[in-house]
Subunit: 133 residues, 3 copies
């Protein structure tokens, strides 16, 4: 298992890690298989979405933070970050990515995102590769 570090600067933030992940694949000569990326935190996640128009990220967080999982005074967890935990489970923490020809396979408009829901923090991403046939 290898570990990458991501520093987040906002409370909630979608950080494009596509180039970082591709560099990892390139630098480790990973050619064909499946790359698992895993978020070892309980208030952040990993997802794939558009990386062309930054307004998409804005709109995603506007709706997720404000409408789908807003702050809630009924929450008991003393740290006060229960919404971040809920968002982490909705977005997911384990993401398998296809690799062929030394490239992470993504659609034309897709990028890979680290989804911070309780920043700013120094975060990690764990990676493991299984070779194809």
């Amino acid at each position: 298992m290898e570990q990458l570090t991501v520093s987040t600067s906002q409370t909630t933030e979608l950080i494009d890690i596509t180039a970082t992940i591709q560099s990892f694949v390139t630098n480790n000569n990973l050619v064909d298989g499946v790359l698992y990326i895993f978020c070892p935190h309980t208030t952040a996640g990993l997802t794939v979405n558009e990386n062309w128009d930054p307004d998409v990220r804005h709109d995603m967080l506007l709706t997720i933070d404000g409408d789908i999982v807003p702050p809630d005074k009924r929450h008991r967890h003393a740290e006060g970050n229960s919404p971040a935990h809920i968002k982490a489970s909705l977005i997911g923490s384990s993401l398998p990515l296809l690799v062929e020809g030394g490239k992470v396979l993504l659609g034309r408009w897709q990028g890979i995102y680290f989804a911070e829901f309780d920043g700013p923090r120094r975060r990690h991403i764990w990676l493991k590769f299984l070779k194809g046939a």
Copy 2:
């Protein structure tokens, strides 16, 4: 990596692709391992859910489209399809499926769905297989 094509006919739609995926496994003599299916689009996803009563699909879309991620005039993304992007990240785009004895392993009531959130469109599904021991 292999690619399948799915044509969707509604704005939002859950299309049962179970038979298509099983045919892919059968036709390629895939016997034992993990089949990764990946959605290369940013306004659609892949999920597993009931494929017996079509009312389940109706109710899922009623709630997801109308209540969890409804249209929102505050969204900035000029294409106007930010809700579809949000739904894609909630549902997920990368789905590992277990394969044994040449069969995709699914529970009694489960089917595999392509979740269209911004159709109708011609869509793709990417597939890659890793062999078991």
Copy 3:
């Protein structure tokens, strides 16, 4: 494929299966690779989240059951459990876990949860392991 059984006791419940999964890895001498856990039910899922403060689970279910996917009289599915189906697709049913040195790799505060959304029931978890290099 191996199968584990989980008995749930509430309508909705997050059951910590971390020790069960680690025991499976230990007892089967799984050392290095990826362990896929799969939920073969359409009204339950699998997720990773905090396993330290039980209030986190309380708050997660309070918000998911009461606010994100509450009961809805417009739902048509005669069994009346459409919210449970929706929650299953939001949380996800297929979870790859990294294994190294005979240990399931989890962050400091993470545990693995079986998410029951239509209990109490006797439930199953399917497991399959692919070896690393």
